[in-house]
Every structure is written in structure tokens, then in C-alpha cells.
């Protein structure tokens, strides 16, 4: 495995992790644009723009883009998160040039009014689709409550109202700002011809005007993780189960303790074999009870998710709280540490074998921090995690106590679960 990098004069960065013997090539444009970069009037613009990028450039139609990707045999798609918009294609190595060229040209979309109007309908359908699905908006509402005035409070999709109000002109401005070459990383993994990759970047991206990139909206001075607890409820009378999302503060993306936080989350709330699994899922009391750590540029959090019968939700949330309280009080056992380390190491190896998965680890890490870690280095980090690291995370970032909780489902709103509602 070999890592190479190059920076074009206009600021665009090109990186590649090359694996001998890989059968495929994965290519991605990682744009530093996400929900956290939006304002009220641009809410949902990053994700809407991601859709518009597939609607064509001045000289390539949307149909032509779709046809070209299929003709290459590409598995191509895109996603938008709070901090990144990523366009990616997995192809056989002989298609590297074609795939890179097409993705590169797409980064300068036409943003036509007529396409904008049609695609707006698709975005509204996507919002409705998620609104009909568990956790029925509890995740977005919880994010808003937990992050408060922090830019990370914004949901990626936006709302029906914000999407309806968005104009093509506003999107064009947003694109000019955020899709400047200095804000974009072109990454490739697998069987990569790096010289050809850099050539492609020069050919298709070299003429992009460099711009002074806007600094990202960061944590306002006044923002701090919630010291209180909040509880909200979204009524979904027709839902069969009750869904709960709870967010508490955790290490941020720049904090070395983020790795230990992920290990702790695996011990406490992995989808199987964790403390929450044995306490609530194995017994058939909850459909799901899990905890995962998420990190961003300047903040981090533990997100707990629970789904169960509405009548049990208060009791089960209290039991989760007790699992967390006990973890802080007593720590985890050496056996749990060992099991979680092996689990995480297994995942690193399996993800590392597929260029199309590895692309995201490599590209996102470079876009966020400008750093690269090989699979071996990732494994070393997992291997080095010890009891003291976990202890430090438990002390600094206890999962019990303050935080935001949102329920969605048939649970009667008037029967406010007071035991959880410490702030009111």
C-alpha cells in the first residue's frame, strides 16, 4: 500500500492510496460543504446541490451523465453530511480516466432553472420518505436540541419550507463559494495510476479559478455541550413502536480521545454483544438499543438509539441511563476492552480490503484533517487503546446525566415522563 499526494496551483488536492493487486479503482471528489456551512435561507442547499450536480453541465446533459456512468460499469453515487459532500465512483481500472473526467466536469454544474424546479420535487419526496420512516424525525429534532446555536444543529435535508423557499440564484452563489478548488480533495483508492490521476486533475480542474475560501462556521464562543437535560416528543399515533434518540457530548474530531470514545461506544452500545444489547435487545425488550460515537471538526457526541413498545420507553431509557452510570462508576473490564479491540480491528481489516469502502476513510480524513493513516496505522491505534484511555473518556464525557432526548411514536405526549425530564 502506497500513499501519494499532489497539490495543483489553484489549491485542489489530489491524493491516492494505491493497493497492489486491487481489482478496482475508486475515485471521489470530497467537497468541504455540508449542512454546517448553511444559513437559514440556505438550509438544505448542500444536499440539494449534490442532486443538481447530477443534472448536468453546460455541455453534458443529465441523461448523458447517467448513460456514461452506466456505460463505464461504474457504481457511482453521492452523499451529503453535516460537513462533507462526496461524489464517488467505483470502476474497473481501465475506466479511471473516464470516471475521473466525468466526476471532475460535474463539479461545475449548469444549475439550470428548469432542472432546479424538477429536482426540488425529488428533494421534497426524499424529505417525505424519511418522515415516514423510523425514527420519524426524532434524530433531526434531537440534533437541533443538542447543538442549539452551533452550526451542527442543522439537519442535512432541510425542511419542506426551506427547500420550497430556496432559489437557484442562492444555490449558484453557494456553489461558487464552497466548490472553490481549495475546498476540494480528489481522492482515489485501489488500483490507481497516480500520474494519470494528476494529469486528469490538471486537465479538468486546472482552470478552476482559485478563490479565497470562506472559513467554515465554527462553534460560537457561547456554545458548550448542554449542561441540562431536555426531553421532547413527536407524536406519531400510527407508529407501531416508540423511537428514542439521545445525544450527549463526546470527544471532537481533533481530540485524540475520539478513538477511545469509539471503543467505549462499542463496549456499551454496539449493535450486538454490547452492554445495551445484553440488557435490552437479547431479552426481547427493545427492538434496538445502541450507542455510537460521532465526531466533527469542533464537536463530538454519543448518539443512543432505542426502539421498543411505547409503554416501556420510560423504563428502558432509565435502564440505559443506569448502564451508563455504572460504566462511569466502575469502568469496563479488561475482557471487554480486549473484545472491543478485536472487533474494531476486524472491521478495519474488512473495510481496508475494499477500495470502494476505503475511499471514504482516506478521503474524509484528508478533507477534514489533512492527514493520512494506512490500514496498519489504524490497526496500531486500536491495538494501543488501553484501560486508562477508556477511563479518561468516561471521566470527561459521561454518557449519563445531561443531554437531549427526543421520542417519536405513539407514546401519549400528555403523559410526560417526568423521571427523565430534569430540566423542566
Amino acid at each position: 500500500m502506497k500513499f501519494l499526494r499532489e497539490r495543483l496551483d489553484n489549491g485542489l488536492e489530489v491524493i491516492a492510496e494505491i493497493t497492489d493487486g486491487a481489482l478496482s479503482t475508486s475515485i471521489g471528489f470530497f467537497v468541504k460543504a455540508g449542512a454546517r456551512d448553511e444559513t437559514d435561507s440556505l438550509w438544505g442547499a448542500s444536499h440539494f446541490l449534490e442532486h443538481m450536480v447530477f443534472k448536468g453541465t453546460a455541455d453534458i446533459s443529465a441523461d448523458e451523465i447517467n448513460r456514461r456512468f452506466d456505460w463505464m460499469g461504474a457504481s457511482a453515487n453521492a452523499f451529503t453530511s453535516e460537513e462533507d459532500t462526496v461524489y464517488h465512483a467505483a470502476v474497473l481500472p481501465e475506466q479511471q480516466l473516464e470516471a475521473t473526467a466525468l466526476l471532475a466536469r460535474m463539479m461545475r454544474p449548469a444549475l439550470r432553472e428548469s432542472d432546479f424546479a424538477t429536482e426540488k420535487l425529488v428533494i421534497l419526496e426524499e424529505i417525505r420518505m424519511y418522515d415516514d420512516q423510523p425514527p420519524f424525525g426524532a434524530d433531526d429534532r434531537c440534533r437541533a436540541s443538542f447543538f442549539g446555536r452551533h452550526p451542527l444543529a442543522r439537519s442535512v435535508l432541510g425542511t419542506v419550507e426551506s427547500i420550497e423557499a430556496l432559489t437557484a440564484d442562492a444555490m449558484r452563489d453557494y456553489h461558487r463559494q464552497r466548490y472553490a478548488p481549495g475546498n476540494i480533495v480528489l481522492a482515489a483508492t485501489g488500483a490507481v495510476d497516480f500520474a494519470a490521476l494528476v494529469d486528469s486533475a490538471r486537465t479538468w480542474c486546472g482552470a478552476w479559478e482559485p478563490q479565497a475560501t470562506q472559513p467554515r462556521q465554527t462553534m460560537p464562543v457561547a456554545w458548550a455541550p448542554r449542561a441540562d437535560s431536555t426531553l421532547e416528543h413527536i407524536t406519531r399515533a400510527s407508529a407501531t413502536l416508540e423511537y428514542a434518540v439521545r445525544m450527549t457530548a463526546g470527544p471532537a474530531g481533533h481530540d485524540e480521545d475520539r478513538f477511545a470514545a469509539k471503543l467505549l461506544a462499542a463496549v456499551l452500545g454496539d449493535d450486538s454483544g454490547s452492554r445495551l444489547y445484553w440488557a435490552l435487545v437479547d431479552s426481547g425488550e427493545a427492538e434496538q438499543a445502541s450507542c455510537h460515537h460521532h465526531d466533527y471538526l469542533d464537536a463530538g457526541m454519543f448518539a443512543t438509539q432505542l426502539s421498543c413498545d411505547a409503554g416501556d420507553v420510560v423504563e428502558l431509557l432509565e435502564r440505559i441511563e443506569e448502564v451508563y452510570r455504572q460504566a462511569t462508576a466502575e469502568g469496563i473490564s479488561p475482557a471487554e476492552l480486549e473484545q472491543a479491540r478485536n472487533k474494531l480491528a476486524g472491521r478495519v481489516v474488512l473495510v481496508g480490503e475494499r477500495p470502494r469502502h476505503r475511499l471514504f476513510s482516506v478521503g474524509l480524513e484528508w478533507a477534514r484533517a489533512g492527514t493520512y493513516r494506512s490500514v496498519a496505522e489504524d490497526l496500531q491505534i486500536v491495538e494501543n487503546l488501553g484501560m486508562d484511555d477508556v477511563r479518561r473518556v468516561l471521566d470527561c464525557w459521561p454518557l449519563h446525566g445531561s443531554g437531549s432526548t427526543v421520542l417519536a411514536g405513539p407514546y401519549p405526549a400528555e403523559a410526560s415522563p417526568e423521571s427523565l425530564d430534569e430540566s423542566q
Binding site: T19, G21, A22, L23, S24, F54, D63, N66, R67, F69, D70, W71, M72, G73, A74, S75, L92, P93, E94, L97, A101, T118, K120, L121, V122, L124, E125, E126, R128, M129, D132, Q133, S200, A237, S238, A239, T240, L241, S272, G273, W278, V281, S283, G284, E285, A286, E287, Q288, C308, D309, A335, Q339, N342, K343, A345, G346, V349, L350, E353, R356
Partner: protein, 425 residues
């Protein structure tokens, strides 16, 4: 550009197979360059054997098999697998109960005896029965909140003859009537060597693997093959009332099963219809009209019958138009295929086949599936050659003989849709 990147050598493939005296089929594929190994145990205890009024019995049985086996408790099984970094999964399909794991290759000797205990020595203990039952019921409650899943599940019940279209995850009212004694009888009758397929892929040592399988499974002799009585299929059109903003539309019509050579023509025709982002459904329904976020067509196969399947979810007010456009595109398919469409379908299929070689779990699943359907594993070269033989003429010939008809139609949402009588007749 004037540049070109050299096409690589064909992928080298090494596939092994052997059958133990008791009928267990062992399959293996060596994937050079990988550190991992993936293994899948498929035993013929699928939901097709649930029996009338007991839909969910196979799923309950699969769950109970994990809850204690050999000298390990339920907890010890999971701790041992996860302690070795095994990503494990258990699932029940119509045909099989499956137990799978992917891991760093050196951990395989720890995992194999655990899986052998699960298959051969499940304890099915009294104290795990109620938790297992509750877990299955919780999962069923969860699927009630997943409208797309419900629509597709209802579609399979309409399209396939009983019991092949029943939901493998169970039906709540029927699960509630099943007892632990039913599970014990089911496991004893259906979890058996004949019909079991064990597939391994990745960094493997075939001879050593066969030896350890002989050691772990060679003296397993149990049970006779269980027959399945295939009954009637249901009505063609159904509306499922559901309080949601979107209406979900699911359509199916008959297609040849995977073991039929014509399945390639059918799969290609369906890919043209709704397989990629340049497919007709995606272009007409989403790109041109903005009617929905998701729309697709695909192929679903059981051993003896198969289905062409289309799906879309869209807001209630635009659902009728969505259905109408989908039906127009389906009817338009025969006689209109273009070479460029076929070229794209071939390129996507070939590329997907090659990329599968990078995943030990995908290959372990793939070779087992082929053995179940075909009684052999097709090499990558054979598959690629078969795609090369696809032509506009061969697909049009198949479409002419098998035009989309006798459609099953499911709508799930607030209002039923109008379904033209002639398409479902």
C-alpha cells in the same frame, strides 16, 4: 486525452468443491491478496418449512439455535465470536437458515467449532425461549413501521404460490401461537447435513479446511429431506392501508428462475427497465418528471420460480401518475430495446462481477447461492462469456415469448390506486 490505461490480465480464480459422505457440500474460493476469510453455513431449515398457521417458526428456530450450543451459553457464543473479531450474522430465508462470519483469516480455527456446535448441538434451552420469542416479536413490530418493506412483503405473498411468498420473518399472530416444542421438532427435522452448503472465501487453505470440516461434521447423520407442498398463489391486486405521506407501489410478474439459461435475458431486460441511473424508469419517473426519490426494477429468484419486480415510493397525490408511467414503461419494453442500452447493462454487470472478487463475504455468499440454484459454481469467465452472448435479438426473443403480463400490484398508503384490469388478468 490521448492516454490510455492498460487493461489488466483476467482475474485468476481458484474454486474448490467437495461433498462429504453425509451430503454436506463444501465450497471454497481463494481470493489472493485478502487478509480476511468469510464463511457461510446454509442449512435447509428455511421458512418454506414453517407449515400452515406457523409462519415465523424457522425464524424462531434460527434465533434459538444461537442461544446456547455445545458447552457454550448464548452469551458465550457471541462473546467467543466477537472476541475473535468475527463479524457474524444469522438470517432465515425461504430456503435456508444461514449462519455467517467474516474475520481475519487467523481467527478461523476459533470460529469453526462454534458454528459446528450451533448447527449440530443447539441446546434450545427453556430459559432462552421467552427472550427469543420477544426478540422475534419486536423485530416484527419494527417491520410494521417500514412501509417499503411491508409493500414488498405483501407483493411476494401475491406473486408466489404458497408457501414460497410467505414472510420469512413471520406473522405476529402466528408467532404468538408457536411453542418451544415446535421449535425443537423443527430443528430436529430440518437442520441436517443433506442439503447443507458450507462456503468459504478469501485467504483459505482448502485441504486444511476440508480436514477440519470432516472432523467437525463428518459423523453428522440426521434427518431425511423434507418435502414442500406448493399451493396456490393469491389474488393479483391488493391495497394495504397505511397512514403515511407516501404511497408505496410494488409490482411483479413471472420471470424464469436463476437456473434457467434465460434468466440472463430476463435480468438484462429488467436492468434496461430499471437497473441503473440511465434506466428507463429512473429517467422517465424520477429524472424527467420528478415524481419520486426511489424507483427501480430488478430480479428476484427462488429455486423454481422467480419474479420481475418494480418499486417506487411517492407522495399520495402523485402516486397514480407514478403507477401509470411505470406501467407505460413496462408495456413499452418488448420490441424497443436498443443496442446502447444493452451495452450499458453488460458493462455494469461485468464490472460488478469483477468487483465482487474483492469481498470475501460477497464471494462466500455468491458461490453458495450458485450451488443451491445450479448444483455447481459458475466461474467468473463463464459468467462473463454468458454476458457476452447476450444480444438485442436474444433479449427481444425472450420478451416476445414472455411479455410482462399477469402483474401482481400492491399499493400501500392512505388511498388505493386504480389498476387497469387488463394488466393483472
Amino acid at each position: 486525452m490521448g492516454q490510455s490505461i492498460q487493461r489488466r490480465q483476467p482475474v485468476k480464480q481458484t474454486i474448490f468443491s467437495t461433498t462429504l459422505n453425509n451430503g454436506i457440500v463444501l465450497l471454497g474460493e481463494e481470493l489472493p491478496g485478502l487478509e480476511s476469510v468469510a464463511i457461510a453455513f446454509h442449512t435447509p431449515a428455511g421458512a418454506v418449512h414453517d407449515g400452515p398457521g406457523r409462519c415465523g417458526l424457522a425464524t424462531l428456530s434460527g434465533e434459538m439455535m444461537l442461544r446456547g450450543a455445545g458447552d457454550r451459553s448464548s452469551r458465550q457464543i457471541v462473546d467467543s465470536l466477537e472476541g475473535a473479531g468475527v463479524q457474524w450474522a444469522q438470517s432465515v430465508s425461504m430456503s435456508h437458515a444461514s449462519f455467517a462470519g467474516a474475520m481475519v483469516a487467523r481467527q478461523l480455527p476459533i470460529a469453526l467449532p462454534i458454528y459446528a456446535d450451533i448447527l449440530r448441538r443447539p441446546l434450545l434451552p427453556d430459559d432462552q425461549w421467552e427472550p427469543a420469542r420477544q426478540m422475534v416479536l419486536q423485530n416484527l413490530a419494527g417491520t410494521e413501521d417500514d412501509p417499503a418493506h411491508r409493500a414488498m412483503s405483501a407483493l411476494r405473498q401475491l406473486h408466489y404460490p404458497s408457501p414460497w411468498g410467505m414472510p420469512s420473518e413471520g406473522i405476529t399472530a402466528e408467532v404468538e401461537g408457536i411453542g418451544l416444542e415446535d421449535v425443537r421438532a423443527f430443528v430436529s427435522a430440518n437442520v441436517r447435513p443433506r442439503g447443507t452448503i458450507i462456503a468459504i472465501a478469501g485467504r483459505i487453505h482448502w485441504d486444511a479446511f476440508v480436514q477440519s470440516m470432516e472432523h467437525l461434521f463428518g459423523d453428522w447423520n440426521a434427518g431425511a429431506t423434507q418435502p414442500v407442498v406448493t399451493g396456490q398463489r393469491g389474488p393479483h391486486v391488493r391495497h394495504v392501508q397505511h397512514d403515511s405521506q407516501q404511497t408505496h407501489i410494488a409490482l411483479a410478474w413471472p420471470a424464469p428462475p436463476y437456473r434457467s439459461d434465460e434468466s440472463y435475458e430476463a435480468t438484462a431486460a429488467l436492468a434496461v427497465l430499471g437497473g441503473g441511473s440511465s434506466s428507463r424508469l429512473f429517467s422517465e419517473v424520477r429524472e424527467r418528471r420528478g415524481l419520486c426519490y426511489s424507483v427501480s426494477a430488478g430480479y428476484h429468484t427462488l429455486r423454481d420460480c422467480a419474479a420481475a419486480v418494480c418499486y417506487s415510493g411517492t407522495s399520495a397525490a402523485r402516486a397514480q401518475e407514478t403507477l401509470d408511467v411505470m406501467l407505460t414503461e413496462i408495456r413499452r419494453l418488448p420490441g424497443t430495446l436498443e443496442q446502447a442500452e444493452l451495452d450499458r447493462v453488460k458493462a455494469r454487470a461485468k464490472s460488478a462481477l469483477v468487483m465482487q472478487q474483492e469481498s470475501s463475504a460477497a464471494r462466500a455468499g455468491g458461490i453458495a447461492r450458485q450451488w443451491y440454484h445450479l448444483g455447481k459454481v459458475r466461474s467468473l469467465a463463464e459468467e462473463l462469456a454468458r454476458y457476452d452472448r447476450l444480444s438485442v435479438a436474444s433479449i427481444e426473443a425472450w420478451l416476445a415469448n414472455h411479455p410482462p403480463q399477469e402483474l401482481s400490484v400492491v399499493s400501500l398508503g392512505r388511498e388505493p390506486l386504480e389498476v387497469p384490469h387488463e394488466i393483472s388478468a
